[in-house]
């Protein structure tokens, strides 16, 4: 009935959902040892030495060094300002949240800053273990207390997407919980490729900043002006367009294609998936390896006979490799499609293969993150509190080769810079390097610089054109 009103959307309109996926996850996996181990980062490793306090202080010290010597304040603030100095509304009216260092999650909410200096000083003073970025409001969020509720309305924010390994756990076999390896990273990489191409080709967005979340996921910040100005309803429609994977924990079949013809966006996704399906899903994840796994795949087939025949066959030959079983499945689907006289059934069998492929490799998005302008998201270049890894940008074209395990951490950066300073004597006339240039953080910051420059150039050109227009009048 909702559609009938021309708005398939929600009644529950929660203006301040400060829902934090990480928080949720921590609760749900609190029994998970891996996770506990990671969470102890601030206390050093699990084989902790008796003097816990000192080690804790130690990693806080590392974080302080990071903020002092590595964090790219200037580019970062220019980015959020969408223009160089002076700082203006997009930056000054932007909501930030800091999480204070320490074991308990103490939030500092509704922060906002007037200048780069102010932002930097506060970061250095607080040394937040997490920084969240929210929307740009009609007024300065820090003045919330003195403002009327209606004076503080969100006006714009980047369109954001969150892809988390969490959502792949139902079939991921190489790792579980908070761990991640090169094999399962490929799941994320394919998701990036598909989403990146859809956002560019379908929606015409150009400025997409992909950021590693520091543990087992990625965020995408769509920074085009048009994306920033989207209303919540428009965000919902995009999320729904890209929301191919439907169904909760109690539903195994999560993709339903109704028509014979595949929407062009899905055709493109399918083409990308075809390149990776065999290697990533059949070889690396071996989703047809044993009965528990293959049952999940079989449940996606809308025909009892096909299911039973495959199941029987594989039980007898369970050692057969996943790729071979997949061939069995395709052959079985094809012959049954030919056999059946029921047109509807034939159609549903024909699309079944694509449905399964999409189900495994189409991006699994957390819709709630994308649909609300006011949703807060962890900022690029902050440090994941449980891994110590820096949330660095990812180049989408090279996402397959991105290795989360070798992303710089605050302690590796600390060592690198000390090594460098110890072994390098500056020659006369030699340009003095930025601290980040002395470390493996360098390529990430350079990429970020380039990205921000390209946006600034466009706004500059637009402003110039607007200026000229008004001059002519």
């Amino acid at each position: 009935m909702a559609n009938f009103l021309g708005e398939s959307y929600m009644d529950i309109d929660d203006p301040e959902v400060h829902e934090d996926n990480d928080v949720d996850m921590i609760i749900e996996s609190s029994s998970n040892k891996e996770d506990d181990k990671e969470r102890n980062f601030w206390k050093g490793s699990t084989n902790a030495k008796p003097d816990k306090f000192e080690i804790e202080e130690g990693s806080l010290e590392l974080l302080r060094v990071f903020y002092k010597r590595f964090f790219p304040y200037k580019t970062y603030c220019y980015w959020l300002n969408y223009s160089i100095d002076p700082m203006d509304k997009p930056f000054q009216n932007r909501e930030f949240n800091f999480v204070k260092p320490g074991d308990d999650e103490v939030y500092m909410r509704y922060l906002s800053f007037d200048t780069i200096e102010e932002f930097k000083n506060e970061v250095l003073r607080v040394c937040p273990k997490k920084i969240d970025i929210g929307a740009v409001f009609t007024a300065k969020p820090k003045e919330k207390k003195s403002l009327k509720l209606s004076a503080l309305k969100p006006v714009e924010k980047e369109l954001i997407f969150d892809i988390d390994m969490n959502d792949y756990d139902e079939f991921r076999t190489c790792c579980s919980g908070a761990t991640i390896c090169e094999k399962c990273w490929q799941l994320i990489a394919v998701a990036i490729k598909i989403l990146d191409s859809a956002l560019r080709e379908d929606f015409g967005f150009k400025y997409l900043l992909w950021v590693y979340s520091g543990r087992r996921g990625v965020h995408c910040w769509v920074c085009d002006e048009r994306a920033r100005k989207l209303s919540d309803d428009e965000r919902k429609s995009i999320a729904s367009y890209l929301g191919v994977i439907k169904g909760g924990a109690q539903q195994n079949k999560k993709v339903h294609l109704y028509k014979n013809s595949l929407h062009p966006s899905l055709t493109r996704a399918h083409k990308i998936i075809e390149e990776y399906f065999e290697r990533v899903i059949l070889e690396d994840q071996e989703v047809l390896k044993d009965e528990r796994e293959w049952t999940k795949v079989l449940e996606c087939i809308p025909d009892d006979g096909v299911r039973r025949r495959l199941d029987d066959d594989w039980r007898k030959n369970s050692s057969r490799h996943s790729t071979e079983k997949w061939d069995n499945l395709l052959a079985e689907l094809e012959s049954s499609t030919k056999m059946t006289k029921n047109q509807k059934k034939a159609d549903s069998l024909r699309v079944c293969k694509i449905e399964i492929m999409l189900q495994y490799l189409y991006p699994r998005l957390d819709e709630a993150v994308s649909t609300k302008m006011i949703h807060l998201l962890k900022s690029p270049f902050c440090v994941h509190p449980s891994t110590g890894r820096v949330c660095v940008p990812i180049i989408p074209e090279e996402c397959e080769n991105f290795n989360p395990m070798v992303v710089p951490t605050i302690s590796s950066l600390y060592n690198e810079i000390n090594d460098y300073d110890r072994s390098h004597v500056k020659n006369d006339g030699e340009r003095s390097l930025h601290d980040y240039e002395k470390t493996s953080l360098s390529p990430y910051i350079k990429y970020f610089d380039k990205f921000v420059q390209s946006i600034l150039k466009e706004t500059l050109a637009k402003n110039k054109a607007a200026m000229q227009m008004s001059m002519e009048f």
């Binding site: 909702a2 009103l5 021309g6 959902v17 308990d104 062009p264």
Partner: protein, 479 residues
């Protein structure tokens, strides 16, 4: 604001609605209202009597409320149409041009026009009122648009200057394959039907359903989907007009009109007060759980096992509790107890706000109603890892079967029946069947209560509690 002219009962509305500016009413073909449909872009300038003012507003409100009622009760689109037809004919009849001979169409349209502007003004006062008005005015316009005949529709759109960039044959050929894949209708001469190029933001519902081809930010919308475009335009214009009206409302201090507008709004408030689903007064006791519908049982079990529920599951369950009659304090205490692994600080920070918010004591202070089955079934479908929604829809067949068995449905015939209904997408009927089976309504003839299709989880609970009460009474009598 209004002028005291010949008789003291004549009032004009125009200047109040647009902050002092006067508009000329458009005249076409010598008549004031050439079309049944109206975008209401021009406020009425004529004078009306106090009586008219009151009765027009009242009558339109009846139609909007009837529409709300029908939609909230999840009537099918056809039913809503029929229902609207009846109420409209009674309160606000509006006829197309073909029938102009038999009816006073100009009179009807004048009333439609003026009543819209009175309510627009009255409902501009708060955001909640604005949203309500916007929602049901859109629904009303949509139904009227659907009902109007094509020639009239086109004439109306032409007059309103609703034209979009359309593609020529060559342009269509270039994207032939993609258009085919999007099932763009083909005309009798084998060509694609008329196709408009439009910014994707303007057709959110088509984008959401992947019903259009998108390329670099443009949506290619077939003429058959014109309705989406028209609705977008209508909604945008009305939303903007309401914002404007809300600003002029503040400056409007008229001692005659204000009380009348207050009166109109009171009728709206009466509506929100009726959301009383409760028959039970004590907070959630364990034996009450037996009366929960499957969706809530499932959430409750998960909550007990994991001491946690995710966002939408929390909203679903919290509003259900609210419907049972828990006060905000009782509800907070319940969640506090259930989230036993969460410390006080975190609880206050991450959850308490939203719980209070559902009760309307935080944020926008909107008093949210417990969600009905249709919203649970259609909105916010769970993502992987989420467990909210209606189990009859969200569970795969094997899982649903297992759940039914777990809940004590053991008869194969019964299981098959429920599974079939769920598979055929009759989720609420499946739920009703489940009720009848688990309450033993099918095999006992002595209290064969016929229950209607479950429309609301709280209704399920109330029916179950009532049934138990009646049975107790009966058995006491028997003794």
């Amino acid at each position: 604001m209004y002028s005291n002219t010949d008789t003291n009962n004549k009032r004009t509305l125009a200047s109040s609605t647009v902050g002092g500016e006067r508009y000329e009413v458009k005249r076409h073909h010598g008549t004031k209202y050439p079309h049944l449909l109206n975008f209401y872009s021009v406020p009425p300038t004529e004078e009306i009597t106090i009586d008219e003012f009151e009765s027009f507003a009242f009558d339109r409100l009846q139609v909007l409320k009837a529409l709300e009622g029908a939609i909230l009760r999840n009537k099918s689109e056809d039913d809503v149409k029929k229902y609207l037809e009846e109420t409209s004919n009674k309160w606000l009849p509006l006829h197309s041009n073909e029938s102009s001979k038999a009816y006073l169409v100009q009179e009807e349209r004048r009333k439609d026009h003026i009543s819209h502007f009175i309510l627009r003004l009255a409902y501009s006062r708060t955001e909640e009122l604005r949203n309500w008005f916007l929602k049901y005015e859109c629904a009303l316009f949509k139904l009227r648009f659907l009902r109007e005949n094509p020639t009239e529709k086109q004439a109306f759109l032409n007059d309103e200057n609703m034209r979009w960039k359309s593609l020529n044959q060559a342009e269509k050929k270039l994207m032939k394959e993609e258009l085919n894949a999007c099932s763009i209708p083909i005309t009798t001469d084998g060509e694609f039907c008329d196709l408009f190029e439009i910014d994707f933001e303007k057709v959110p519902d088509l984008v959401a359903r992947r019903a259009v081809y998108l390329k670099e930010g443009k949506a290619y919308v077939p003429v058959t989907q014109q309705l989406s475009l028209v609705m977008y335009e209508f909604r945008q214009r009305l939303a903007k007009a309401l914002e404007l009206a809300s600003k002029s409302f503040i400056t409007l201090r008229n001692e005659r009109i204000m009380p009348m507008l207050d009166e109109i709004i009171k009728q709206y408030d009466g509506r929100t007060q009726t959301s009383n689903y409760s028959v039970i007064n004590n907070p959630i006791a364990d034996n009450l759980v037996d009366h929960f519908p499957l969706c809530m049982q499932h959430l409750y079990q998960n909550l007990c096992e994991n001491h946690h529920l995710k966002h939408y599951a929390r909203i679903q369950f919290n509003l259900f509790l609210k419907g049972i009659g828990l006060t905000v304090e009782e509800s907070l205490a319940f969640w506090k107890k259930s989230f036993s692994k969460v410390d006080e600080d975190k609880f206050q920070r991450d959850y308490a706000y939203n719980i209070r918010h559902n009760y309307g004591v935080e944020g926008k202070r909107q008093d949210y109603k417990p969600l009905n089955c249709m919203s649970l079934i259609t909105k916010h479908r769970p993502n992987s890892g989420e467990i909210h929604g209606c189990p009859f829809r969200e569970f795969s067949q094997p899982n649903l079967k297992a759940k039914l068995v777990q809940m004590g449905v053991r008869n194969d015939e019964h299981i098959r029946e429920i599974l079939n209904l769920a598979e055929e997408e009759h989720y609420q009927v499946a739920c009703t069947k489940y009720f009848e089976i688990t309450k033993g309504l099918l095999d006992k003839n002595n209290d064969s209560i016929i229950i209607e299709t479950i429309e609301h989880p709280n209704e399920y609970l109330n029916a179950s509690v009532l049934l138990e009460k009646n049975r107790k009474k009966m058995s006491n009598k028997d003794k």
